[in-house]
């Protein structure tokens, strides 16, 4: 019998407690679906989360892809060049500041993002290229798709502050009551 309790205790410790809740939501701007909005919730991690070891902001077809990249603090972002022309990626304002210099097709450069904030990313050669990297200090974040929908995964039940950002807009702050079946809809008016 004692083994059962030990096993259960081990499960709780390894599993990190109650399972998280998937919270769907939507982002709208003037009542229209909004893509590329970033939503995050200041909820504790259910499991021992580690930042993704590396995520990618691609340079492809004279554009950055994705246009908006959300990452957790501590993530290293790779910047591969998949164009036959050179790019010179930089971010000078706010957030992480860097300049990668010129590099050719097939080459990759890496930048660690070690504190929260917003980095506006450009190419010094191609003025039309622009992207945003938003760094958040939580594992509970999502970026809205073309229909304005997003899904926050594995959020523990409870009431937490939430934040929402969109390109060129104000950050929305509020409180989200997370429980089974709840939604989080953010609206810019």
């Amino acid at each position: 019998m004692g083994y059962v309790w030990v096993g259960l205790l081990a499960l709780v410790l390894i599993g990190g407690g109650a399972p998280g809740i998937e919270v769907p939501g939507s982002a709208t701007f003037k009542d229209k679906p909004l893509a590329d909005a970033v939503v995050w919730v200041d909820a504790p991690d259910i499991r021992q989360e580690h930042p993704a070891p590396e995520v990618t902001l691609d340079q492809r077809n004279l554009s950055f892809s994705p246009h908006v990249l959300a990452v957790r603090v501590g993530t290293t972002v790779s910047f591969p060049n998949h164009d036959r022309v050179f790019h010179d990626v930089f971010s000078f304002r706010d957030g992480k500041r860097f300049e990668l210099g010129l590099y050719p097709v097939g080459a990759v450069k890496h930048v660690p993002f070690d504190r929260p904030g917003l980095s506006r990313v450009f190419c010094n050669i191609h003025p039309g290229m622009a992207a945003y990297i938003i760094v958040v200090d939580t594992s509970h974040f999502a970026v809205s798709d073309r229909q304005g929908n997003f899904l926050l995964a594995d959020v523990p039940a409870g009431t937490y502050p939430y934040h929402a950002w969109r390109p060129g807009g104000q950050i929305l702050n509020g409180s989200a009551d997370i429980r089974s079946g709840s939604r989080l809809d953010v609206q810019w008016r």
Binding site: N61, L62, F86, V105, H126
Partner: protein, 331 residues
């Protein structure tokens, strides 16, 4: 005819199965400029580019320009300033990345891949003029030379070879003769340094008349190094535009893109060109340029250059100010 073939190549490539574009982007640049060399100019470039589901990329660009005033190379950094609406690059391309290798193919109408040749590295960087050695009317290798052909690049990011085979499709006043036209370029990349060597073997200007015989052959070396937001780049090009003469020259550019300078990117260039064609016809040109690119509110970017050209240019004044403003919009 060659242009039609180039356009057809783009359409065929862009409409590879399935014929649905995954992404299409349009850009327009509108520029107005004045120079104390008694030149006023206006231009518009429109370009469309994208990719289909198979990641075949397409790129098409047209330019229109009007210039008023005396002959000058002002505002000719990357586009011709005569000829009304003209097509520039119109091509399709695909790049393969098997393992760590690199294989790229491009077909259509594209800038001659010799040295530092992409439009983005000359147009709207802060310099209003092309380097002397890259302006066709100086019997040099023009920034508005284009190829109708096929271009292959192979190697690794660290070391690659690019070859182009086609026929000339030049824009600008001086056009090369029809005929087979080949370019080879080798490029190395290590940390902040990019170096290259190029060779072009081509026909020469039809407009120069019967005295311009033989093939046009140019060789060049180029280098770019970028560190802490400071880019130094340059080329040295030597060869013959046609038999019996030589053109030799180069330039070194400095571009300072530092956060502390805010909206201003200072630029500087020192350059020379020697065209050896015997008494009366030779040109010995020197020029020093200092200036800046200034990021203005909205879509606007300003460029201002102060130029000192102590020798050579027939129509040029010794000291010149060029200024231009561009609005760039992407959708």
């Amino acid at each position: 005819m060659a242009l039609r073939i180039a356009a057809a190549a783009v359409l065929i490539a862009a409409c590879g199965a399935p014929c649905t574009a995954q992404s299409i982007t349009g850009e327009v640049d509108v520029t107005g400029g004045v120079s104390t060399e008694n030149v006023r100019a206006g231009s518009t470039q429109a370009r469309v580019f994208g990719a289909n589901a198979s990641d075949w990329r397409f790129f098409a660009e047209a330019t229109w320009a009007a210039v008023n005033g005396q002959p000058s190379d002002a505002f000719g950094a990357a586009y011709p300033y005569e000829g009304g609406i003209r097509p520039m690059e119109v091509y399709a391309e695909k790049t393969f990345h098997p393992r760590s290798y690199l294989l790229g193919v491009r077909a259509g109408r594209y800038r001659t891949p010799f040295g530092i040749s992409s439009r983005g590295e000359y147009g709207y960087t802060g310099f209003v003029r092309a380097p002397l050695i890259r302006y066709g009317e100086h019997f040099a290798l023009s920034n508005t030379w284009l190829e109708h052909g096929v271009d292959l690049a192979a190697g690794w990011p660290r070391l690659s070879v690019e070859t182009s085979l086609g026929v000339p499709g030049d824009e600008g006043e001086l056009h090369r003769r029809r005929g087979v036209d080949g370019t080879v370029r080798i490029q190395g990349y290590y940390k902040a340094l990019i170096v290259g060597a190029s060779r072009l073997d081509s026909g020469r200007d039809r407009a120069l008349g019967a005295f311009a015989k033989g093939r046009s052959v140019f060789n060049g070396v180029d280098a770019r190094v970028t560190a802490a937001g400071i880019q130094v780049r340059g080329e040295w090009i030597f060869g013959r535009p046609f038999d019996g003469v030589t053109t030799t020259g180069g330039y070194v550019d400095l571009l300072v893109h530092r956060r502390a300078l805010g909206i201003v990117t200072p630029v500087a260039r020192i350059e020379r060109l020697d065209y050896e064609a015997g008494p009366y016809f030779s040109l010995y040109l020197k020029r020093v340029t200092g200036g800046a690119r200034i990021q203005l509110p909205g879509c606007f970017t300003g460029q201002i250059n102060a130029i000192h050209q102590p020798a050579g240019l027939a129509h040029g004044r010794k000291n010149v100010i060029d200024a231009g403003i561009t609005c760039s919009v992407r959708r």
